[in-house]
């Protein structure tokens, strides 16, 4: 089902653990979206998000060997990112007078208060699952799917020209890419919980 010579995340993690730089670069490239979408929730400045991202990746370099299961990588990234965002918020709070209304931290630890907060969290976990699954896909799938959702939308002719594939094969290729995305562990769990 999978493109043959495309490394899986498990292969990338084990190659990076044994010191292969290109594997590390690929991990960063693939998982940065997951990290950024997770950090977005905390409404930090762009600069703070960049700092959080760098801290998380530095931690991962140190902890790569401790990841027993490569499959644990997305979860590790999400929880470490969350932790670093909260640390940044904590630092900010100490530096300015306390806002009476709320802190994002409170919103997160007591998610039972309002429906829209719950919805927000549901949306975030959906984003995280989809991005974790997306990171598993071969490069060709990722490129095609990105083009299909680009804004403003591209025509099939433009996509065909960019990917150098015939127009007629875009539909079937798209179907296979979405099948692969749906079959990833992260996304299949999401689909299960929907039903």
């Amino acid at each position: 089902m999978r493109g043959t010579d495309e490394p899986t995340v498990a292969m990338l993690v084990s190659a990076a653990t044994s010191g292969e730089r290109s594997a590390w670069n690929e991990i960063v490239e693939r998982f940065t979206p997951l990290l950024l979408a997770t950090a977005r929730k905390y409404r930090l400045s762009d600069h703070e998000v960049a700092d959080v991202a760098q801290t998380v990746w530095l931690h991962l370099v140190e902890h790569l060997k401790d990841l027993r299961e490569p499959a644990a990588l997305p979860g590790w990234l999400v929880s470490t990112t969350r932790h670093e965002c909260l640390r940044t918020i904590g630092r900010n709070e100490r530096q300015r007078p306390r806002d009476l209304h709320s802190t994002f931290e409170n919103d997160l630890v007591t998610p039972d208060i309002a429906a829209d907060v719950a919805e927000d969290i549901d949306r975030l976990s959906r984003q995280q699952a989809v991005l974790a699954g997306f990171a598993e896909l071969p490069e060709s799938d990722r490129r095609l799917l990105r083009l299909l959702i680009s804004d403003p939308p591209l025509t099939y002719a433009q996509i065909s020209a960019q990917l150098n594939i015939p127009i007629g094969s875009i539909g079937p290729t798209r179907g296979r890419a979405l099948d692969r995305l749906r079959a990833t562990e992260a996304v299949s769990q999401l689909v299960d919980s929907d039903t």
Binding site: E29, Q54, W57, G171, R174, R182
Partner: protein, 159 residues
């Protein structure tokens, strides 16, 4: 889109979810984040000390920034245990001073892999030219007994 193979509702939902997720993952400095993260791999065995960005005129309040913007220049300061490095980035021109003062070799590296070597004088001052004022830059400083490398930073044209 001329659709000869319409999406199933399920596919449509998944594609919409993906669009929403990737939109949430956008960041104006994505390229910088990825470049610095990729470099993080080497920190463990790198001889160079990493100099962190401690000041950036782009991050100042709006008033100061608008004055700076008029000059089209940007000040950044990097710091590590061995040294500090103040840089003024103006167009393609880079004016730098390393403290404590003293001669040093400075290598200017761009994200496309271009390396330019310049010498800092006895006061630690140097000038260099960026091959691409909009791309990413970093600086490696070597002196007898110490060497340091800065984090990646944008050239002056990026805001």
């Amino acid at each position: 889109m001329c659709d000869m193979d319409p999406l199933t509702p399920e596919e449509e939902r998944l594609l919409a979810d993906l669009k929403d997720a990737l939109a949430a993952a956008q960041h104006p400095q994505r390229q910088l984040i990825v470049a610095n993260a990729q470099d993080a791999f080497n920190y463990g065995d790198l001889e160079d000390e990493l100099a962190h960005l401690v000041y950036d005129s782009l991050l100042e309040d709006d008033l100061v920034r608008s004055v700076r913007a008029a000059e089209v220049s940007r000040m950044v300061v990097f710091e590590c245990q061995a040294l500090t490095m103040e840089l003024e980035l103006r167009g393609r021109e880079i004016i730098g001073q390393i403290g404590p003062p003293g001669p040093a070799t400075v290598i200017v590296e761009t994200s496309d892999g271009t390396l330019t070597t310049v010498q800092a004088d006895a006061l630690g001052c140097f000038t260099a030219r960026a091959s691409d004022p909009q791309g990413l830059l970093r600086f490696r400083v070597t002196r007898p007994g110490s060497s340091a490398i800065t984090e990646w930073t944008y050239g002056p044209k990026q805001s």
